[in-house]
């Protein structure tokens, strides 16, 4: 029993397990409140709370928090404007929501909080977000250009090459949600597994006596460095997700390359 418990805490996969907090069912759909749901709600509350709380002063000369909120806003706004042009600013709230949701979900998972769970380390979540992007892209493309949207699969090349290139374009388009979701999922998963493995080394070495305790310095140092790296990755993956969303949306706005 004791060893099983110890195995659980050292198991690097244990942290990805969904734990039921409050089982629920709405219209026959499983809507149980789990640790994943808890951290989704926390992501929502903290990100929206931060963006609203930091701007409460509406100061002409911003303070620290307001500066951060404005910086994030300008960062995403500039990105959307650069990739989609000023007419693409109608997608700004969507891209911003994606960015801030992924950023907060990624980052929250790095803190030693109770029942901590990284929302974006679940494949279904990243895949759902990627599919949402694809639905918006295809939906807007069809709404704006009708069947002209399918020019996206017709690259501007000699007709002879089309039989080869059109399938390639279609496959590359269809693989977008997969690469978009797997990239984020795999980065989060791998980072957390690595962190857990090195943290586990500290515990295993620490139980080996004085020499072992002295040796824990090494996995500890690596753990510190990895944590810093994971914060960078958390931000970077949110940024990559938002940037790719913009690039895919550009295809919906201007399908004919």
């Amino acid at each position: 029993m004791a060893s099983e418990h110890g195995g659980n805490t050292l198991d690097p996969i244990h942290q990805f397990e969904i734990q039921n907090i409050y089982p629920m069912e709405i219209f026959g759909i499983d809507a149980s409140f789990t640790n994943s749901a808890l951290y989704m709600v926390l992501t929502l509350i903290l990100s929206a709370g931060f963006l609203i709380f930091s701007m409460r002063g509406r100061a002409l000369v911003p303070g620290r928090l307001q500066s951060v909120a404005e910086l994030v806003y300008e960062f995403i706004a500039n990105m959307v404007r650069q990739i989609l042009g000023s007419e693409g600013m109608k997608f700004f709230p969507f891209v911003f929501t994606l960015f801030i949701f992924v950023l907060f979900a990624n980052t929250l998972g790095l803190f030693p909080l109770p029942m901590v769970f990284t929302v974006t380390s679940a494949l279904i979540v990243t895949f759902a977000l990627a599919m949402l992007v694809m639905v918006v892209v295809v939906g807007y493309g069809l709404y704006k250009h009708g069947l002209g949207f399918f020019k996206l699969f017709l690259p501007d090349v000699p007709v002879i090459l089309l039989p080869i290139l059109v399938p390639i374009e279609i496959i590359s388009f269809l693989s977008r949600p997969i690469s978009l979701s797997l990239r984020l999922f795999a980065n989060m998963l791998a980072g957390h597994v690595a962190l857990k493995v090195f943290a586990g080394f500290i515990i295993s070495l620490g139980s080996l006596g004085t020499l072992g305790i002295l040796a824990t310095v090494m996995p500890f140092a690596i753990g510190v460095a990895l944590t810093a790296l994971e914060f960078l990755v958390a931000f970077l993956q949110a940024f990559v997700f938002a940037t790719l969303t913009c690039i895919y949306l550009r295809d919906a706005m201007h399908p004919s390359h």
């Binding site: 990805f16 789990t34 963006l51 300008e74 929501t97 279904i124 949402l132």
Partner: protein, 181 residues
């Protein structure tokens, strides 16, 4: 050898079989949790989108726009003031140039006036000096002439006195004059 291999296979099968029986699927691929995750993801994401697009983002955008407007206004004002300053400087420089020119003109004029006056005064003085000189020269000439005529008389008198003293007799004036001249 073959026996050993089957043994190994058995062992491998065993090692694979045991965790598969005890452990659940890899959690991220556990389909039983998908439904609740999707429900809560949809709920939180839509709520976040609504809150951000309706409240948070317009507010930040407003503040940023307000600041941009304020900066633009201040810049415009600064530009206007600078233009005004430039204009003032130009006006000042123009006035300065005019004043300098005028001052030069006045100085030139004054100098010419003074020169003329000095020349006039000089002329007057020179005329006066010339008059006095000629007057003096005339009086000197008169005095000289007077003196010369006196000299003749004195010489005559002296000569007659000396001749009288030497000869003891008076000589006629004509004779003395004849001797002297």
């Amino acid at each position: 050898m073959a026996e050993q291999q089957t043994e190994l296979h058995k062992e491998l099968d065993h090692s694979i079989e045991v965790p598969a029986a005890e452990k659940k699927v890899f959690p991220p691929f556990d389909q039983t949790t998908f439904e609740s995750q999707l429900v809560w993801l949809a709920l939180t994401f839509v709520l976040l989108y609504v809150v951000l697009s309706r409240m948070a983002l317009p507010r930040i955008g407003e503040v940023l726009e307000e600041r941009q407007d304020r900066i633009q206004r201040d810049m415009d004002e600064a530009n206007r003031l600078r233009e005004e300053t430039d204009k003032a400087i130009a006006t000042y420089e123009e006035a300065l140039a005019t004043a300098r020119k005028k001052a030069n003109e006045i100085a030139e004029e004054t100098r010419a006036d003074l020169k003329a006056e000095i020349a006039k005064e000089q002329q007057v003085v020179e005329d006066k000096i010339a008059a006095k000189t000629s007057q003096a020269e005339a009086s000197i000439t008169a005095a000289k002439e007077a003196a010369f005529s006196e000299v003749g008389k004195i010489a005559q008198a002296t000569t007659s006195t000396i001749v009288e003293k030497l000869l003891g007799t008076s000589v006629s004036e004509d004779e003395i004059n004849k001797a002297l001249n």
